[in-house]
């Protein structure tokens, strides 16, 4: 039976985010959990499930979820440490709903915390033996390959990518907690003049690095009836996983690995693209937004570039997107910020950046192992409503 509207996000929380040395992964995770639980109007004693993302820099750490839970003395009947990269926050929410539905627990906190420092640890070689010796290192090269392919195949331009970065920065400037707000807005010319990082991507095509934490509380619609805020309902959700760029996947999916994840969410929710009032799209790189708009059916294949022109993703546009600035300008919490912002928009808590009458929000995560070989991509989706 469909889980549509049976489970909700009852609480959300973000710690301070930005460049914040001296605070550990664990501290950010715990603080975010505390904020989210209090935001829900619940206490620690109400929570019996915990899902966390393994902080990447910790290496092998068994039972991270249970350890986080123990430090808050949560009496849990369900914990896990999850990892499909930037698709994890949404996958955690999906898993929480399924676990509650299965009778494993009643209230699940899903959390993430990240401390980037100390930087400068070189990646070690295992699994990277087919990319790193060629100087194809880190997250950006793969996205640059995707951008090159789109430009070659469909005529996407760098200025069109710039439209996305400019729009999201504009939104961040209306978001008090956004990491890049102090830097102010920029223009497409600024984007074009920013230095090349990995051609064809400029510096302003790339997201920021962020220290901080985020968490959400998932429970049943029934349990959420008398809580602090009106619940935000999970209408639809989906996932899909592929390798897209590397043969034989181009023939198999036409580089559209995320299509299935979106179709599942829309099917379950019983709504169409026209019903989406606001979107939070995973924007580690501007090119990702283009591919997602196409993958998820907001525009036709190859038309993402023209779709984003003319402020369509702006607050007054047809599809207001990444209303707090996204990974590009709000901060990079592996997409947890996207979910938090979605909930705040649907609650009408967003002040100057509030999308009027926002009732339904589309959110997606993107991750997997794009810098391993073969580069593997995971998409996760949610359709939320108030």
């Amino acid at each position: 039976m469909s889980l549509k509207d049976k489970y909700v996000i009852a609480g959300v929380g973000l710690t301070k985010i930005g460049k914040i040395p001296g605070v550990s992964n664990m501290s950010f995770t715990l603080e975010a959990m505390k904020i989210a639980i209090e935001d829900a109007g619940l206490t620690r004693d109400d929570v019996d499930g915990a899902l966390v993302i393994n902080p990447v820099r910790l290496g092998e750490q068994h039972g991270w979820g249970a350890r986080v839970a123990a430090l808050m003395e949560l009496s849990t009947t369900f914990t896990n440490t999850m990892d499909i990269g930037g698709a994890t926050p949404i996958a955690m929410i999906q898993t929480a709903a399924m676990a509650i539905d299965a009778g494993m627990c009643n209230v699940v906190v899903c959390a993430f915390g990240n401390q980037n420092n100390p930087q400068g640890v070189h990646m070690t070689l295992p699994n990277l033996e087919f990319t790193m010796p060629y100087g194809d290192i880190g997250a950006i090269p793969f996205q640059a390959h995707i951008a090159r392919n789109h430009m070659h195949k469909y005529g996407l331009t760098s200025r069109q990518l710039g439209e996305i970065a400019v729009t999201f920065r504009k939104h961040a400037c209306l978001t008090p907690h956004a990491q890049m707000r102090p830097k102010g807005p920029f223009t497409i010319e600024d984007h074009q003049n920013s230095r090349m990082v990995i051609e064809p991507l400029h510096l302003l095509d790339v997201c920021v690095n962020t220290d901080g934490g985020g968490a959400v509380v998932v429970t049943s619609a029934e349990r959420a009836k008398d809580l602090k805020h009106p619940p935000v309902y999970i209408m639809g959700m989906g996932q899909s996983h592929s390798s897209e760029m590397v043969p034989p996947w181009p023939e198999k999916t036409e580089h559209r690995g995320g299509t299935k994840a979106s179709e599942m969410a829309f099917h379950m929710a019983g709504v169409t693209h026209k019903d989406i009032d606001v979107a939070q799209l995973y924007d580690g790189f501007t090119i990702l937004v283009i591919n997602e708009l196409e993958n998820f059916g907001f525009c036709k294949l190859g038309e993402g570039g023209s779709f984003v022109e003319g402020g369509r993703l702006g607050l007054d546009g047809e599809l207001p997107s990444n209303t707090a600035g996204g990974l590009m300008s709000e901060g990079h919490l592996m997409g947890m910020g996207h979910v938090v912002e979605a909930v705040r928009q649907l609650r009408g808590q967003c002040g100057e950046r509030q999308v009027k009458d926002a009732e339904i929000c589309f959110v997606n995560g993107y991750g997997g192992a794009p810098h391993e070989y073969p580069p593997t991509l995971s998409y996760s989706t949610l359709i939320l409503r108030r």
Partner: protein, 135 residues
Amino acid sequence: MFEKPVPLPTEDSAPFWKACREHELRMQRCNNCGHVRFPPSVLCPKCTSLEATWDKLSGRGEIFTFIIVHQTYHPAFDEDMPYNVAMVRLEEGPGFHSNIVECKNEDLYCGMPVELVFEDRTEEISLPKFRPRSS
């Protein structure tokens, strides 16, 4: 000075790198359905057969995509910047990350025909690279 990273062959990839040392590009061809796969894997992703032969490939392919790196994340590559990385589609099907040598970055394009050339890196490791070919 930082040394450029060299591959550390695994149980799965050792036959690949051993062939490279002999300046041969070999990948697993499925004994059941004939599909050539990469990266090395115990089973065929098409038909899941466990039987395969390390076949010598033609070394011919074309550029699927390419990028120019202006900022890198390993200091050993700093002296090479800006350098290219291309995803090459081999004639036999698989994709392969590599560098295009004997060619200016400005002259690269998607679809460019390329051919294999080996770069000896250490006593054990030779890296497959590619250069433009006339046809």
